[in-house]
Structure formats: C-alpha cells, structure tokens
Amino acid sequence: MPASCMLCPHMGINALERELKRGSTEVLILALLEERDRHGYDLARLIDERSGGAISFHAASLYPTLYRMEEKDLIEGRWIEKAGQRRRRYYRLTAAGRKALASQRNVWETFFDALNRVARIRHA
C-alpha cells in the first residue's frame, strides 16, 4: 500500500484515535487517581462512564500502562484488605505523578487551544 494511503480519511482517523488514546491514557489515570485511590477495574469503568463510552478503555492496555507508570514512580500500587472483602490492588498518586499530571494538563491545554484556534473545534 502506497504511503499516501496514510492520508486516506478512514485510516487517518483511526491512527489519530490510536495516538490520542495512547497519549491520553496516562493523563486520564493520573487525573482519576488525583481524586482518590482506585483499583484497576474502577479506573477502566470510570474512563468508560465519564467519556460516555467515547473512550472505551481496553483493559488490555490499562494494566501494561499502570505497570509502566508504576515503574516510572508516577503511581504506587498496594494490596489493601478490607474487612469481609477480597484484597484488591489500589493505586495512588505519588508526588512525581502529581507533578506529571500538572505538566500534562498544561500540554493538553496548549494542544487543545492550538487545535481550537486552527480548526475551531470548540466554540469560543
């Protein structure tokens, strides 16, 4: 398939979606953990719910992302046992994660701003 095919509309949107999703995954997780500590299923469900299904987060990429973020020390996971319940692994924001969230929010804001100015995506 020729390279120009990248420009074919259908593929273009798919690719954008994929890129956006990958890039946005971290900021979504960080933002949700900013509210409170959560476990993996909770995160997946909330992303799905709050985006009204628009960002249906495939859990396949959730856990690898979580583990990667944990390795980068942005979040910290720990097993918590509550009385009468199974133990679950809860994640919480580290100080580094909090910083990363702030700077990523900044990046996204600049990006949307720029996008808006160029493409008038939002009604200002």
Binding site: G40, Y41, A59, A60, P64, E81, K82, A83
Partner: protein, 909 residues
C-alpha cells in the same frame, strides 16, 4: 473454576507467564466485570462472553503484563487499613458536622437541652462517687474485700473483729495475699512539746497495711514487719499527705524527725502519697501508726490487743489472684467455725462475711445509698425529658430529611450506611452536648463540694470531695453516648422507613407525616408525665423538709455552747479523768454569763451507732434466738437534763449520789418504757446491760422522747447512764449561757481548759444552734435544693418540648386554619382549637404522671424516713401548675394561628 485459575489458564501459553499478583489483579478485574454485567441485566452467557473477550485481549498483550518494579508486592499493614476505615469515619463526621452547622438554631437548642441533662447527671455522679462509688485509692482496688463478723442483733460496730480473731484468721487463711486490720483513732498531734496540740483523726494499722494495699509512701518508707510485733515498742508513724502538706508545710526533713501523738514521741518514717486518702470516703487520716501502739496511745489499763471479745478493728484482705469472693467466704467460714469452737464466749452467734467495698459501703450507710439511687432516678428523668425534646426536634426535621434520605437511597447508598450516618450525626450532637454538659457539671460540682463541706466539722480531717476527675469525664462520655441512642435511634429509624418514590414526589406529609406526629405527641405526653413525677417528688421532699423544720427536736437549740475533749489524748488515768471533768464542770459554771454546765459522751444528733448497748429489760420475753436488744444510749452527768431542758416525766434526774460504788441506775425514755413495759410504771423496774451475766440497773427516771441520731428518725427507745458510774475519757461539755447567742463563751471556755491542763486539746467547739443547722438542716436542704433544681429543669425542658410541638403543628396546619377561617371560623375558635391540642397532651401526661408518681412516692417514702406520704396539696398544686404552664406554652402558637390570613394561607401551597 475460580477466576484466578481461569486467568492463569488463558495466559498459560504466553511466555513468560505473568507474576502471581498480576494474575490475581486481572482475576479481580474479570470478576468485577462479570458481576457488573450481571447486575446490569446481562444473562450469564452474555456476561461470560464479555469476560472471555477481555481475557482474549489480555492473552494478546501478555508480554506487557509484567511488573518490572523491583519493589516487593506490598500488602498494606493493618494499621493502614484501620486508617482507611478511619478516613471513612472522618468523612461521615465531616458530613454530620455540615448537617449540624447548616441548622445552627436546631443544633444550639438540642445541644443545650441535652447538655443540661448530662450536666445534672455528671454532677450527681461526682457526688455519688464521692460518697459511695469511688474505689479505694489503692493498687488494684477490686481485689480488696472486707471481712466482718457480725451478730444478727449487732448494729454497733458493723461486724468489726477483735485483734486476736484478726491475727488468727490472718495466719490461717490461704485465700488472701494478706489480711490487714485498721482502726480510726482520735488523738492529739503536735510538732513539739511546746506546740499547740490539735485533735486529729489517725489510723492504727497492722504492720502489713501499706504493703498489702500496694501503697508506697511518697517520702521515706512504710512499716517494717518487726515494727508491729511487740505492743508499745515501736513508736513510728507514717504521716497522711494532707496533714503533712497543710500542717507541716510539706517539710521533707520531717522524715526521721519526731511528732508527738498523745504526748508520745513518734519517729516519722514516711509520708503517704497524695492519692492515698485513707480507707473510707470521708476521713483523711492525719497519721498511720502500728496497731501495736494502741495500748500506749490509749493508756488503757489492759492490752486491748489481747481481748478476744473487744471488737475494734476493721479487717480487709487482698484476694489472691484467681480466688473469688465466694471461695474466700467458704474458707473463712470454716476457719471461723474453728474459732467459735475455740472461743465460744467471744465469738458465739456471729457470722463471718466477705464483702466487696461497695457492698460494705451500702451496708454501713443504707440511707446514703437510697438517696443516691433516688437522685440518680430523678436525674435520669431529666435526661430522658431532654432527650425526648431533641428526638422531637429531630422528628420535626424528618420531613426535610426524608427527601435527602430518599435521594441518597435512590443513589444507591445502603440503608445500613444511612443509619450509620444518621447515628453519627446524633453522636456528634451528643458529644457536643457532653462537652457543654461538663461545663454545667463543673458548676454543679463546685456547688456540691462547697455545700457538702460545710456540713462536716471543719476541725477534723473529714472531707467530702466531689471532683471533676477522669471518672466523671468517662461517665459524661458514656451518658452522651446513651443520650445519642435515646434521641437518635427513633428519628433515624423513622427516616429509614422513607419510601423513595412517594418521598421524592410528595410535598405534603401523607401517611408518614401522620405517624410522625403521633410519635411526637407520645414524646410530649411522656415528657409532661415525667415532669409531673419530678415535681411530685420535689413537692414531697419540700413537704417533708418543712415538717422536719417544724419538728420539735425535744431539746433546746439556743443558749448552748458545746465542746469535746478526750483525756486519753493526754493519757490520763481514770482518777485523773474523773478529777479533770469535775474541775471542768465546776469552773465552767463559775464563768460569768454561764447558767449551767453538763457533761455528755455525745451531744444530741451526734450520737453515732456506737452508742448502742445490748440491753435485757427485766421481765421482757425476747423472741427465740434473740438474747438482748441493741438500744441507743448516752452517758450524761447530773446537770444534763437541766442544761438541755429535757423534760423528766416521772421519777428523777441523776444526782451527785449516783456515783461509783452506789446502786447502779438508769433513766429511760417513753418509747423504751412503752416497748418493754407497756402501760406500767417503769420507775423501779430493772434492765441488764450487755448479757445475762451483766449488772442490773434500776430505772430511776422517765424522760420525754427526743431526736437522738437524725432529726427525721422515728421515735426511738433510748437510755441514759450516769457519768459517775460509767466514766470514759472522751466527753462533751454543754454550757448554757445567759444570752441566747452562746458564741462569746468560746474563748473563756478554752481558757478554762488551758488552765486545767495546757496539753489538753479542745475540739468541736461550736454553738449548739450552728451544729443543729449543720447536722439537721444542711443535708435535707442540700437534697431539696438539688431535687428542686432538677424539677425546674425537667419542667422547663418539657414546656419547651410542648411549645415546639404545638408551634410545629400550627405551622403545618396553616392551610387548614386558613380554610376554616375562610368558611367562617372566628379567631377565638382557632385559638381554642390550638389550645385544645395542647391541653389534650397536657392532661394525658398529667394523668399518666399521676399514676407513675404514686409508685415513685412509695419509693421515696420508703427511702427517706420521715418523708411520709406526699400531702394532698402537692397533688393539686402540681397538676394546676402544669396545666397553666402548658396553656401558656400553647397560647403563643395559638395566637399566631389566629392571625393567619386565609388568602395567603391558601395561596401558599
């Protein structure tokens, strides 16, 4: 198959297989997915398909499912889990706080109501604690029990043991870590020979006293075992902390120094710690000396420690760990049976008993226990009324709350969680009230301690010490929690019964509303009934107190000065004692302004139970098993009846001819004569003292019955013995003055004693009228004041409750009232309608309260001798008072109702 196994088998083919805790995490995720799908209405198959899809995606990406972090998989320690629970609780408390802060009016009224209730209870608790409940200030007080051996007809010493019996039990028992013996003693204490001698209460104690109690002196040491072996050999003393602090200026160099007790040099070996205040609730002993010093201190002719029949020591023991009271009782009973067989004369007809400290205190002072119980009941009633008020306010708010509750229920909050939330709110409110209540309690305690302290003689070391300590704080906390349940549970329960849909839809109250009003009516009726009970009780006390004041004590109150002396504190011989008192009376009579002077071993109303003597009246048949009767008595001289103006009805008073060696005589009162020789002339009859071997005494006089121990006591048999035939070292002098106010005689009388013997201390110097006020008027007045305060408080709270309910129902019926007025009702009709509502509640409450107060009145009458039945006036005045006050409380809402503008009321909804 469980979820973990399923995840593991899905990922089995991939390499490497993810770690165990990754698998567990994924399994949790899969399970949650499945459960959510099912909850959303998916069939098992559909839900399972979703999970299978998810598992497939994981398998596809298995290589990324690895935790590369070196950190070990952390399991949160329990402390952190608790912390997370704590965070939840904190959240609930924050929510509750917001709810309370949003309604500051409600919160203030509710908190104040309950705070008053709690304050009353806490203040009273501190008082009960001071007189009854506070444990002994020793190590592990629960293990300490008292050992008594009382005969059924023995009221005098409450089952004290003789020293030889104590010693035998101590040496033979296996149940105790130690048995101790102690005995109060009134002795003169001085820092040096030159210093003024003061009478102080101290304790004679067994050598193991401090070690068994686990009390370590704050300075110096306790007694060594050998210091309590040989009578009179070791004059060593441990000083009481208060005495050391107040009278010796807390001088630490006093240890190894000397103090004089009854004129004997005692080496100070230690100072007891501040928290060790002695072995009963009242006395703060100034000193502790070995029991072996008793013979020397008392200058007794023979050794009291070897008299098996002389029951003088109180015995306590520390139970060995694991030994129960019953077992100790069983063992001592066996030992005691042995002692009875060995010494039948001394020990016959006595039962040994092992009791806890509280049991002992109740037994030794049942009146206090009953008053305590009665006041507790009254205070509890006040608290219940206060809680009913708050419950009522909360039920009133339930209408607003039912929407909130419905919304939260609709949002999926569990009812259990909601109940917890509502109760947290109540608890927070109660704790707020508790904190406020502690403030009220503090005021009450200050009042109690100042009033109570004024009821005991100031010059002896007797202290009634209600205080705001940790026990009171703990009690307050407990009371607060109980109140939270009392006022919180019903409204919370009510809120939980909220039906989601109707509550969200309706603006009116509907069925639930009506039920709630019924609940609130019941509460107000109960409040009025309870205040009725309270007021009747107060009325009874008031009436009883009036009667008490009007009672004729049988002796004069004015013109009399009294003081006490104890020649044993200067170690007089009997001859010296005789001389001293003869000179004292003679010289006192010679003072200007003195009409007469008399001796008595105790002044009226100050005669302890110790004055009871075993008596066998001639010709009287006792029931089987009883050999004699305990009769209260006094030893008086020949001037006594004249000085106190006690009327001689028949025969004569004692004379100077009734002396040692002459015919033994006795004077009895009317009740005694009537009890044992009904309708006969008692003059010339005889009584035997002590037992069938005792001497015969001839009755020479019959006197009017007076009050002997308490002003409220029923007519009591009593007998008088002549001082000359029963001389004893501790006597009181009663001096009649020309003037009604005898106080100016104090200093000349002191001078008389000083002139006779400079080393002879005087104590309890006071006019008889001031003593009477203290003894007879003070305690009932205190009880009355407290009860009246509680009655007033209960009434106020109940009226607030009634007002709140009527006002609430007027507000709720605004529309109805508007319609009535629109179709022609007069304003007066509306006023009547609202008043009627208040009246129905009030009268129902009064009727129920009337029934209840009959029962309470019985309890009161049984508890306080002399109180009698409530007079009819109480039963008329209290309901009238309640009716007029409830009328007033409903009048204001009624007037507001009558001003309702029909048009506006109808437009409102």
């Amino acid at each position: 198959m469980d979820w973990k196994t399923r995840v593991r088998s899905t990922l089995a083919a991939s390499a490497p297989i993810p770690d165990d805790d990754v698998i567990e995490e994924l399994a949790n995720h899969a399970r949650a997915m499945y459960e959510t799908a099912r909850a959303d209405g998916d069939s098992h198959d559909a839900a399972d398909r979703r999970v299978a899809d998810q598992l497939e995606r994981w398998r596809f990406d298995a290589s990324a499912l690895r935790r590369t972090s070196r950190r070990p998989p952390a399991v949160t320690p329990p402390a952190l889990v608790a912390a997370s629970h704590f965070t939840g609780l904190l959240q609930e408390i924050r929510h509750a706080w917001r709810m309370l802060a949003r309604n500051p009016g409600f919160t203030a009224v509710a908190a104040l109501s309950v705070a008053l209730g709690i304050g009353v209870n806490s203040a009273l608790f501190s008082f009960h604690d001071a007189i009854l409940l506070r444990p002994l200030p020793v190590l592990d007080p629960d293990a300490i029990v008292t050992v008594t051996a009382a005969s059924p007809d023995d009221f005098s010493f409450l089952g004290r043991l003789s020293y030889p019996n104590y010693r035998d039990l101590r040496d033979r028992t296996q149940s105790f870590d130690g048995l101790i013996a102690d005995q109060l003693t009134l002795s003169s204490v001085a820092r040096s020979r030159e210093a003024v001698r003061e009478m102080r209460l101290g304790m004679l104690v067994s050598g193991n006293f401090f070690s068994v109690l686990g009390v370590r002196p704050v300075l110096g040491r306790g007694f060594a075992p050998e210091e309590d072996l040989v009578p009179g050999r070791h004059p060593v003393v441990v000083l009481g902390y208060d005495f050391w602090k107040n009278n010796l200026a807390g001088d630490p160099s006093i240890v190894n120094g000397v103090v004089l007790i009854n004129g004997i040099d005692f080496n100070v070996i230690g100072v007891a710690p501040a928290r060790f205040t002695g072995m009963d609730q009242w006395t703060r002993p100034a000193f502790y000396v070995p029991l072996m010093m008793a013979p020397r201190l008392g200058a007794a002719p023979e050794n009291p420690l070897e008299e098996r029949a002389l029951r003088s020591v109180e015995v306590r023991g520390r139970l060995k760990s694991g030994i129960k009271q019953q077992r100790a009782q069983a063992e001592l009973t066996t030992l005691w049976t042995g002692l009875q067989q060995e010494y039948p004369e001394a020990n016959n007809n006595r039962l040994i008993a092992v009791r806890t400290e509280l049991q002992t205190r109740i037994r030794s002072n049942p009146a206090n226990a009953i008053i305590s119980l009665m006041m507790t009941v009254l205070a509890a009633i006040v608290l219940i009324i206060a809680c009913a008020n708050v419950a009522n306010l909360m039920l009133g708010r339930a209408r607003v709350r039912s929407r909130e509750v419905a919304i939260r229920l609709a949002l999926g909050v569990s009812r259990m969680r909601l109940l917890r939330q509502l109760l947290t709110e109540s608890l927070l409110l109660a704790l707020l009230s508790g904190a406020l209540g502690l403030g009220f309690a503090y005021g009450g305690i200050r009042f109690f301690s100042s009033t109570a302290q004024s009821l005991v003689p100031a010059d002896l070391s007797i202290v009634i010490s209600p205080q705001l300590d940790l026990r009171v704080v703990a009690f307050t906390l407990l009371t607060a929690i109980v109140s939270a349940v009392l006022f919180g549970l019903a409204p919370a329960w009510q809120s939980l019964k909220t039906q989601v849909v109707p509550a969200l839809k309706s603006t009116g109250l509907g069925e639930i509303g009506r039920q709630r009003t019924i609940g609130r009516n019941v509460l107000v009726v109960a409040q009025i009934a309870l205040s009725m009970v309270l007021l009747i009780a107060v009325g009874m006390l008031q009436a009883g107190f009036r009667r008490t004041l009007a009672l004729d004590p049988g002796f004069r109150l004015d013109h009399l000065m009294t003081m006490s002396l104890d020649t044993s504190s200067a170690r007089y011989t009997p001859v010296q004692t005789h001389e001293f008192y003869r000179n004292l009376v003679d010289r006192s009579r010679g003072l200007p302004g003195v009409v007469s002077a008399a001796l008595a071993d105790a002044i009226p109303l100050d005669r302890g139970l110790g004055s009871r003597k075993a008596v066998i009246p001639e010709g009287h048949q006792f029931p089987k098993g009883q050999e004699n009767a305990p009769v209260a008595s006094a030893i008086v001289d020949e001037h006594y009846f004249d000085t106190t103006k006690t009327a001689i009805l028949r025969g004569r008073a004692f004379t100077a001819d009734d002396r040692d060696g002459s015919r033994l005589v006795v004077i009895v009162n009317e009740v005694f004569a009537e009890a044992y020789w009904p309708n006969q002339n008692p003059i010339g009859r005889r009584v035997r003292l002590n037992d069938s071997q005792g001497p015969w005494l001839e009755v020479v006089g019959l006197v009017k019955t007076e009050k002997y121990n308490f002003i409220t006591e029923p007519p009591t048999p009593f007998l008088y013995l002549p001082f000359a035939q029963h001389e004893k070292p501790q006597m009181s002098l009663l001096v009649e003055s020309v003037d009604a106010d005898a106080a100016p005689l104090a200093s000349p009388l002191r001078d008389v004693v000083k002139a006779l013997d400079v080393n002879q201390p005087v104590f309890n110097m006071r006019t008889f009228s001031s003593f009477y006020r203290q003894q007879a008027v003070g305690p009932p007045l205190l009880v009355i004041r407290v009860a009246a305060a509680m009655g007033l408080l209960g009434l106020t709270l109940a009226l607030v409750g009634l007002y709140g309910l009527v006002a609430y129902s007027v507000a709720r019926r605004t529309r109805e009232i508007g319609i009535r007025m629109a179709i022609g009702a007069e304003r007066s009709d509306v006023v009547m309608m609202v008043l009627r509502q208040g009246m129905v509640l009030a009268i129902t409450g009064i009727l129920l309260g009337g029934v209840a107060s009959v029962a309470v009145a019985r309890l009161l009458a049984a508890g306080m001798a002399g109180l009698g039945a409530a007079n009819a006036a109480t039963y008329i005045v209290v309901p009238l008072l309640l009716i007029s006050l409830t009328l007033a409380a409903s009048y204001f809402p009624a007037r507001r109702a009558s001003k309702v503008d029909p048009l506006r009321a109808l437009r409102y909804e």
